[in-house]
Subunit: 386 residues, 4 copies
């Protein structure tokens, strides 16, 4: 048991700030953590909004100066949930200051930034981790376990997609997520990274080459809060969407197996459908985040007249993470994976051993994104992931 608590500072307070806060708050009450955790400080751009968020989410202090907080010797962990263009600067500073760092995905907006982060992580003596949180959904953990046990056999194909539809209305305004400078890319970086990471995680192998297609469907959108006109009426001007609305990728694993990926925020009716299907010589597993407590499992070695996809409700004590929660059959939700992430991260810190996904893994995903963009610009020609 570590005597003094681990003191956490969280930089940023958007949607991810709420989710991470819930993880820090809840995990200690369900998991036997080897260290206490203290939600020490929340950092925002303005003191007012940071203080409001800190009050709402239960952080002791607030600040508008991340540099000071990151340099504060009393802080042990820096949790970065800002837009991705600031990840590199904050993370490198935190690592250099000797902090443990949890950084939201995508790791960075460019390969150069991601490389800088990965190098800093390797050189640091602290623990770092990138927030591909869906790895820690129990049904995904079960998929990984079954693949590792050989239930799928030789993997022959992977299909992954992440489908949302919140941009189908062309009047949805231009947010930072639609600005290449801030977000790096669109559906590719926001959603495609999850699909790529899960495919690599569950199969235990890496994409070596890709063929990509990127498409922007709605090219102009209303600017946020633009108000013009003598009459005081609101006139909405439009700005250019500089990121992709849909990314389509064919990938090749080292093993030669192929994979397809789709990432989009234009799949009408699909709200949060992160799907993964891994097919092999002996079986298959299939997952859909819209039914996140279930893993579909096909066993091609079962008696022929009983074969079919089995809907395994991944809420048994024998499933990853579940024994910490409720009795069998009681569903977990989106945010539980953030508690699992905290539990594993704190354990890794206490034990002083690296934890996956590392920044190096985040960098590899970033290189894959870049290969996709290169391929897309050259007419989808197959491109090696460097």
């Amino acid at each position: 048991m570590v005597m003094s608590p681990l003191r956490v500072a969280m930089i940023g307070h958007g949607f991810m700030g709420a989710a991470h806060s819930q993880g820090w708050r809840v995990a200690p009450h369900f998991f036997d953590l080897p260290a206490r955790v203290e939600m020490a400080c929340l950092v925002g751009r303005s003191l007012g909004s940071a203080r409001a968020a800190a009050n709402r989410w239960g952080w002791h202090n607030s600040s508008d100066d991340w540099r000071t907080v990151v340099a504060d010797p009393s802080i042990d962990i820096v949790d970065i949930v800002t837009p991705s263009d600031s990840h590199a600067e904050i993370a490198v500073a935190a690592l250099n200051a000797g902090k443990h760092v949890l950084c939201e995905k995508p790791l960075a907006n460019t390969v150069a930034e991601a490389e800088e982060m990965a190098v800093a992580a390797i050189q640091a003596t602290t623990i770092s981790m990138v927030g591909f949180t869906y790895r820690r959904v129990p049904a995904i953990g079960l998929a990984k376990r079954l693949v590792d046990q050989g239930m799928v056999g030789d993997i022959q194909h992977v299909t992954a997609s992440y489908l949302q539809d919140w941009l189908i209305d062309p009047e949805v305004p231009l947010t930072w997520r639609l600005d290449k400078e801030r977000a790096g890319s669109g559906a590719l970086g926001d959603l495609g990274t999850h699909a790529i990471d899960l495919a690599q995680y569950v199969t235990g192998s890496f994409l070596s080459a890709v063929s990509g297609t990127l498409q922007t469907i709605v090219t102009e959108r209303p600017l946020l809060g633009e108000k013009v006109g003598l009459s005081g009426t609101t006139r909405t001007e439009r700005g250019e969407v500089t990121v992709d609305d849909r990314a389509l990728i064919v990938g090749r694993f080292d093993s030669g197996a192929l994979a397809t990926f789709e990432a989009t925020r234009f799949s009408t009716g699909r709200k949060n459908a992160l799907r993964l299907e891994v097919s092999g010589s002996r079986g298959a597993v299939a997952f859909d985040l819209e039914a996140m407590n279930t893993l579909q499992v096909f066993d091609a070695t079962a008696p022929n007249d009983r074969q079919g996809f089995t809907s395994v409700i991944a809420t048994e004590p024998s499933h990853p993470y579940v024994s910490a929660w409720w009795p069998a059959g009681h569903m977990l939700g989106y945010e539980h994976a953030f508690s699992h992430q905290v539990a594993d991260f704190v354990t890794a810190i206490s034990e002083g051993i690296p934890i996956s996904p590392t920044f190096a893994e985040g960098l590899q995903v970033q290189r894959t994104l870049q290969a996709v963009e290169t391929s897309a610009q050259s007419g989808s020609v197959w491109t090696t992931v460097e």
Copy 2:
């Protein structure tokens, strides 16, 4: 191989006439029958409608006199698809005339009629069979096979229902199916018989006692084709609905296991949901006719972290009847079970051995219906199936 064909006469030509005709027409082209079949004569109430139906469905001759046809020595098989109030008279005459008899369900409107039929069937040297056709849906055959193999273990509970919704509109007119004199009962006899028969068939045991509730929801409906008025306008008078709209039954098997049944034509949104779930100490099977090519199978002896309901698509050659049809994964429909019924019936005739469901089984279902009605009239008190 029987040299001379089996010559069939079908009495009646409603919805069931179309389904039975398709069975007689199609079965010989997919199954290796031990005898040829000839669709010799279709009998209706009027010569015009009988001839039209015969032409449409491919019967060689037509008639409006079932007695003459049943007595015709050239006829081998009598297939009865009339409303259930005429089953007994026709079937007994046919059996007495030495014909093989296939009779649509329910076997009869009363226990007395059904007893008369069962006795005639036992005394006859010919083959008789009642048309609980759903037994011959491949997924149901698979359920029966798995239960017989012990996959479910000791049966602890059965849930069965047959849900339709075509009567929720109170302007649906009074047809013969809503008239107790013609139909015997309502949802109970029309739909509940299927649910009861399937439950008994798949479990291989009989209900020994029941507690029943019957309800008529819309008590008056427009008379069919009633036209009144000097002005020539149509005035629709209403008549009384004399059958149940919903039947709710709790039943007890000889083994002590309980079962619940619901039969209704008022289950909004459920079009043809004949459902059966059999639960036991080692597993469970579940079926829904609205997804009729699939059987849900739960194996409680599988490794704990892989348990779940398996959606077995019952279209493999290893599944009952399927090898006669298409490659795996090609769906069968409602009418295929009528071909299976014909194939089995013709085979039984050629081999001279009884075939299930016998008239005695039809009688047992009829006795169960009567016990349900007796129970319902006495306030749902438990009533023995005589």
Copy 3:
């Protein structure tokens, strides 16, 4: 804004203690509550276990003397999560001491106890509530809203069931839940109460009569922790199961509509399937707790060729409680309803108005259970709910 916080004492610390604790802990961070909440004291039978639970779940103090805590003037709210045989004594004492009371379901083990509690609640000036928590699952709230808006039309039928399977193994030991003295009844009180409450809540009407059947499938089970023998080996003796394993109920609403209920812990493969389907003249709604973020909605007034059950994923900001949580498409879990319960309860206390479900509603459910038992003992004969 109430200035001083509401100080809560929770009596009991089993499974429900964990769930309630999560509610008290999390709700203030997502909902704009009109009062602060303080998790003041957890009470258990032994000081050791109470202290351990308090530490784990974040309660400031612990105690082994509920009477002292309930009498403590600094406590505002008493939250009762003990086995149901102690509900009445604690709740009445708390109400008499001027506390607000949240009491887990079932309200009590007998009608007499429940009446005493309901009277005490009416006489008290404080707020009381029984924990039929599933009412506050968003999809159930949506079902209630749609029914209230008339989308279902005249309600013609309700089907409800609560199916689990954790007792199918006859070696599961005798816990307090299988002892009539402690638990009052078995599946009926534990699970059937939820099904009955939801059916009444969503339809807005009450059962006036019932026909019930109760069954105990495994009549003897190993005693917990029984150790005998000089050799120190464990010898497991068996004790009698004194509660029902399965409850089957037909109910009649004041309106004349019928309902069926099944509650069991023997439904092989069903882990936590609380299901409700309400059918009416214009539509239907259907829910299953195993897919708790979804409500199935059938609109019988839609164009005929587009009718079908719509899978509404109840995670939109427009759905009950959801705007407090995550963006659309991010799933909620079992425990979220406990936060909703806390949020509503705290709001009711601050506003000084009663909140549903009241103890009177809990009493009505208890009377329904008693009518079921009376009916079952008399052979399922229809019995009036007093």
Copy 4:
């Protein structure tokens, strides 16, 4: 009413021969055809096998000489169900002989053959049609109707796949379907053509460019029936698989909308999953042949709190083709679409007007396949469909 019957000759008698025979046999009994149909002659390679198939499937005569049969003046319709390498020769001969021609898909193995056929079809005065039969599944007809009515709005994306798994076992022998000379291509031509045709049919637009990837997973398989060895034992030699096992395609419609396609016989657990999802600005439709009686429909203009995918069971009389069959809720199967195809084809012949899909449409699909192959050989670079 045409007085003399249309006399049909079917060339070939594999799996498709059985399906087409069922269509010719059954359609006249359910649809009011404007002409009688006579199953005149079945042609095979050997007289023995042709006669056996003719007997089994109800063809009056049989032959082993398609040229004579095609030239026979008494034959009106030639139905071609041979492997695709012989389609062109037979179809052109039949068209030149003044026959109406129904030709199974894919239209041909090469663009050159398909062009020859399309030219012959245009020059002929008879009716010709290619057998993309799935267009005539009722749920697909409903999808087409809804898209045409504007329910989906501006189409933004199409996802289509055709997934089977019968080749995952490397011991499945080399059949003609795995030989490029005979089959033209593998999954691409066998399954991908269906997916491409349906996507174009339902959206009413054509692919103008594609990026393709083709993969052969099992490169060698046992030769069929190879027997060697003095000892009389069977030694199985292996031959090269010369077609693709999986085809992955990104396509672009004239409108700019993108589409993805996957065709494979290696998708473990997927038996016959032809899937199509069309997303647009106002809604979406989704289909899966493994649940072929259902169309999933999403209406983005519905009230926000009731939106979701609606499972429309396409068995209502208001759905395409269904009124000819059974009452609502009675499922149709795989083969029903072959009856629909016959009904439409015979009607078109009687009315003397072209019927879709024409040979020109088959040619366009063939050109798309060629563009996919060209793209795949050049590293997936975008390739124009000529």
